[in-house]
Amino acid sequence: MSEQNPLKNLLTNKMQRRTFLKWSGAIGLPVVAGGIGTKMLVERKQDEKPASAKETEQIVSTCSITNCGGRCVIKAHVKDGKVVRVSTDTQKGGDLSTPPLRACVRGQNYRKMLYDPERLKYPMKRVGKRGEGKFERITWGEAIDTIASEIKRIGDTYGPESRYVNYATGQSSGLHGGRNSARKLLSLTGGYLEYRGDYSVGAGSVATPYTYGTNLTGSSFDSLLHSKYIILWGQNPSEMIFSTPYREYLVQAKNNGAKIVVIDPRYSDTAVAFADEWIPILPTTDNALMDAMGYVIVTEQLHDQAFLDKYCIGFDEDHMPEGVSKNESLKSYLLGMQDGIPRTPEWAEKICRVPANKIRQLAREYATSKPGALIQGWAAQRQAYGEQFMRGGAQLACLTGNVGKLGTWAAGTGSWSRSNMIRPFTYENPVKTSIPCFLWTMAVEKGTEMTAADGLQGAEKLNSNIKMIVNLAGNMLINQHADINKTSKLLEDESKVEFILASDIFMTPSAKFADILLPGTTFFERHDIGFPWGGGDYVILGNKAIEPLYECRDEYDVFADVAEKLGLKEQFTEGKTTLDIVKESIKRTKQEIDPKFPDYEEFKKKGVYHFKYDEPLVGFKEQIDDPANHPFQTPSGKIELFSKALWDMNQHDEIPAIAKYIPSWEGPEDPLIGQYPLQLTSWHYKRRCHSTYDNQEWLEEAGKQEMWMNPKDAEKRGIQNGDRVQVFNDRGLLVIDVKVTPRITPGVCAIPQGGWYTPDKTGIDQRGAVNVLTSQRPTPLAKANPQLTNLVEVKKA
């Protein structure tokens, strides 16, 4: 305003005294040269819509690809570039060929996750000690430079085997994702140390093929509509979902008259919703119950001798592989012919606490209510001898002939698949060496000492320990791996792993250990396709609903930039964007797999495609109907109740050739129980998907983080419902609120897995991160995670 301005003197003699006095100081403040610098508010572009004329709401169908047992339809209602609300599949129920794919409580929280103020927003570099959580914002340019140079430096210094892409499942389905992008980039620059298996069914997926030759032992869910008897053994689809439409089929099976039995140490939500009968059991003793059921079935002549004779090896002395004593048969074991211990219900009761008569009833019902489906969850194989659990279930299915016929279920891993899409994003790792995923900490500490006995494959030995870890959308670096205290200490030592790259959408306990931390995208912000997990005849298009917020980026684009820095951009992208990959997958699937598959535009509109079949998929139907032309994929071509391959490993105590009960370390028969008298198990909680969403407050209302304890155990310790307690063993100590409930077996406590490790100043976890207490000792055969095998003591905090 100039001296000539006519308005100049308008205020003279009109302002109030107190205003004036207050202002006299402020008036003297200087004009800052240069003002505020670069402006964030700029002149609005003219070609855009007029002010205030709001866009109409668009509904974009999309899909989350976390490691959830479900894969549901999420409809993002988008207005002015913002997701204003989410809804889910509105498809009506009833037609089981197009089951509704509705979101659970976790899905209803997605908008809150998207706009959470704590999203990671910018690339960061560590400035404090590793794990301390101190970071500084950097530019994407600096982040890319650092990543490229570290990938190269570590590869040049230690060789490609020193580079590792950690198991991570924040993006577990989908076509591109972090892990695949990192693997492709590393493949193009010499390769990386590969891992095998997973933390979900690590023991089971190695064990099951020794019996059946494959993990595809399941049947499509519609086959359950024909079952008369269904056992859900340690499976909890009400909370962890286990394929979105699955529960719909269980309801229908029940309506059709099937009896459903749930075996679980907890009276789980699944038991509440579906069970005609709940059978509580002590963790790690499932095989004692299985053995006794086998004993009852065989001694009461309820077994299917014809089936066993025709399809199986190892049931009785007449069907043993060459070179093995006939006394080693399954029957001989069950009847105690070799060691004088018949596996009677009374024998088992003492171990697993299921009353002998209940065992008899269960065995008789399962053997006579045909067709029967013994469906195994994977919880009970995340234990010290988890391999036995999976083969033991399969053993019972074979004893009763419940394999290959409509309405049966062959037990074992239980995967099934008949609907697929082309996945065009591929890479080939020049390094052929691999380790079991659970042993990555061993490979950090003493990788060069690992041998075949530690599950090392593809090489006699490793040339280097792991020196670089790429941990993308994963919390396995700290939170979800066993023994958090041990792992933290290992990673804090910067001379061991020299570079840790992480990306995530939140500051997880694992992300804290990154050297470079990148802000990833949520599914709302990227293009992808969601595949159902654990079976399901459908796929969901993961449409991008909005542009990535802040400086968040897809890992694909990040690694494309890293590739460019290393002169490999063209090889990495092959000229494609993530959307191009999605479109190519759709186009080729239509051409090569299913001509009815919609084109991109149509798929985009509908959001979901249901593959349709005339009849249910029955696991091993071909092998049973026509064994001559369809042998099992085992060495003998038959079902191997007795596995010669396992026998030849010559570690019969821990790796027996037939499934049997092995008393577990840190099980009820371990003398350590004198010191730590409670078994501690964990479960997949409805408020989380593993550890994903643990920071989401609204979900805490759906399920508080608390430990279940039986009133008898609580009373002994003077613990009341709601008390804060310390839970501890030799590996660590955590603090958590307790829920005293008869819904859990006496002698057993359970903490929902996935709470974020939150140490206080003295290093004691305050959130109930169960892996503070779990062990890194692997299972004997698969070298898999035994995280549900723990002994602890509990006392009031």
Binding site: L11, M15, T19, A26, G28, A51, Y115, Y550
Partner: protein, 220 residues
């Protein structure tokens, strides 16, 4: 507003200029600290005695920081800045209006879209629209700076009144709805004299400016 009491000679121009200057100063105090000459120069330019006249404690607190300014101090403030406003992880004082005004403490909520509309009405747009929220402290302050500068340019009384009214409403409907709880979080979570002083100045000045603007509108 009552019209009792003494009236003083209060020039419109210095009034509008100094408002702009104070908003600019606050803006600069809330920018990410850099280890260059900038903060040194800024400190030299502030007359802390005058600031003390405005509000004693603010002047003292800021003076305390600027008197002891060093590269090391600036780096410390940068760390503090990250902890309070940037992350990663839990923020001690989230600097967005939406956070304080939405039920679930989310960003990009309805109030942000009201602000966006307001920016549009003045031909403005967040350069990072739909990437960074439009209701970040610095954007809201920049909008106030813009409006006070525009006020300085006006030669038409009604237009000037319109600009003053917009600023009154923006303070009432936006800045002052969340600045108090935002500053409260800073007070509770930091011992940095830079951010304590900046927060005191921010909160106090917004209230003071509101009062003055209402007063001015009546007087015009």
């Amino acid at each position: 507003m009552t019209t009792t009491g003494e009236v003083f000679d209060f020039d419109l121009m210095p009034f509008l200029q100094s408002r702009r200057n104070v908003y600019q100063l606050i803006y600069l105090l809330f920018m990410e600290p850099k280890a260059d000459q900038f903060l040194y120069d800024l400190g030299k330019g502030i007359n802390f005695k005058e600031l003390e006249e405005f509000q004693k404690e603010i002047g003292k607190t800021l003076e305390q920081f600027f008197n002891q300014i060093s590269d090391e101090q600036i780096l410390k403030q940068k760390e503090e800045f990250h902890r309070l406003f940037i992350g990663p992880g839990q923020l001690a004082a989230p600097p967005w209006e939406s956070y304080y005004r939405s039920k679930d403490h989310l960003l990009f909520e309805e109030c942000m879209f009201q602000i966006r509309d307001l920016y549009y009405q003045f031909g403005l747009q967040n350069i990072k629209e739909n990437k960074e929220p439009d209701d970040h402290l610095l954007l809201e302050l920049e909008f106030m700076i813009f409006l006070s500068e525009q006020s300085l340019q006006q030669i038409d009384l009604e237009e000037l009144k319109r600009f003053i009214s917009t600023q009154i409403e923006f303070l009432q409907n936006h800045l002052l709805t969340w600045i108090p709880p935002f500053c409260e979080r800073i007070f509770e979570n930091t011992t940095s004299s830079l951010y304590l002083g900046a927060a005191m100045l921010l909160e106090d000045f917004c209230w003071c400016d509101l009062e003055a603007l209402i007063d001015a509108r009546e007087a015009l």
